[in-house]
Symmetry: C2
Subunit: 245 residues, 2 copies
Amino acid sequence: MHVEKESGSTLSLGRNLTVGLLDHLGKAIVVGYYDNKVFPTEAVLAEQYNVSRSVTREAVKMLTAKGLLIARPRQGTVIQPTLQWNLLDKDVLRWLLERKFSLRLLRQFTELRVSVEPKAAELAAQNASYEDLQRMKLAFERMVRADGGDGDPTLADIDFHISILFASGNPFYYQFQELIRTALKTSIQFTTRINQATPNLEAHENIMKAIFDRDPKRAYAAMHLIVNDVLLVIHAQEEADKREL
Amino acid sequence: MHVEKESGSTLSLGRNLTVGLLDHLGKAIVVGYYDNKVFPTEAVLAEQYNVSRSVTREAVKMLTAKGLLIARPRQGTVIQPTLQWNLLDKDVLRWLLERKFSLRLLRQFTELRVSVEPKAAELAAQNASYEDLQRMKLAFERMVRADGGDGDPTLADIDFHISILFASGNPFYYQFQELIRTALKTSIQFTTRINQATPNLEAHENIMKAIFDRDPKRAYAAMHLIVNDVLLVIHAQEEADKREL
DNA sequence: TTTATCTTATTTATAATACAATATGAAGGA
DNA sequence: TCCTTCATATTGTATTATAAATAAGATAAA
């Protein structure tokens, strides 16, 4: 990451300076640009990016709110240890992916998916409202059409999985929306080379049927089958990569 | 020039005005104070809380970063739908609890724990380093001492559960630290009336043994047993409450 | 020497003010 | 009716000044 200094070559931060700076700094922190540097003071940041101190402070406050920074008088602004970062935050997640593709990161996403999604399906079988079920059905039909060449299969797949989070009736499950979105989008980057590119329609239909039948255990098992399969593929690839060394 | 203000009308925001305002507004939003009101403009907020616009804007930006607000020129600042809130954020979680005690909320916490903790234990059995194991052991010994009257049993219990998240080797699992902390602290508020106040030592020891034995399936099962038990107790109480109406 | 206290300098925290950009809705004209 | 224009409210950005906090160094006391 390269930071221009002269006022003439203004670093493009988009139309909203605060949000632009937030994004730029967030990415720089997450990809490790500051790893063996001290994080700049407000004054220096403002000068480097050619923005006012107000903008700088607001961006820093937002990064503080996401757990990436901490600021104290005289001590300056410093980067928090990774454990403090709000990894499930939409922005932080995006910045994580701006690093080079990492099978390890994809595996970690998927391990969490194996934790979360089967139980979400189980809860959905217990709690889904009529509207929830309709949304699921629509998403599935979209998957079928996409499978026939009409539309993007990944986007339809994402919608289907998210509709189940929503149907769980527990708002905490909905928090994994971004993680799942990110995981599925990242998956195709490598899964196409190894596995089938399109999602397994029959397996997905089994989940939906179980939820429609109000059968929690079957819904859990059907979802577990799908996500755990992805995990196994990733494990196999990790082993293969290891042997290649 | 610092203007002294009448002490009577000043709302106490603590030593740090921005953080104080963040906390006050966050709580107000989460408890529903603004539910049928329009959220005030920056100017009004600044006047109401007797702080500068800088402070107001910084607090609003932090709430924006946590998904609670969105601001646009001329349109004002508005509260985001609950689904957008970063519910796993430490602050948001705390604000959620500042509402009256809710068995429903505790159940939702616990449903997520059932999703997350068993798999974390499974991964810990696979990945825990020597240091991770030592930390777990120390936490367990602290639980034993607390059981004998020396120390706080809940705090020791919390440490034990968190040491397992940490030992999973997957940083995403560590994100649930605050949720588990909150859930366990909240649990005793009602669990003491119904169940045993102190955690089940033997069941916890089983988890630790399985992880030391590097037995993922046993670790998963042992953890599932504990957390699912909590969930069942909550379910029973919810049913009892329903009948009481 | 060691400890405690005071001083200084650096950085964030807060305030106040001015103007720019943006989006809403009303007014006016074709 | 529809389009354009303009007034207006609200956030966005810049600038400057001062306060508060604290780390580190200097000084004094034991």
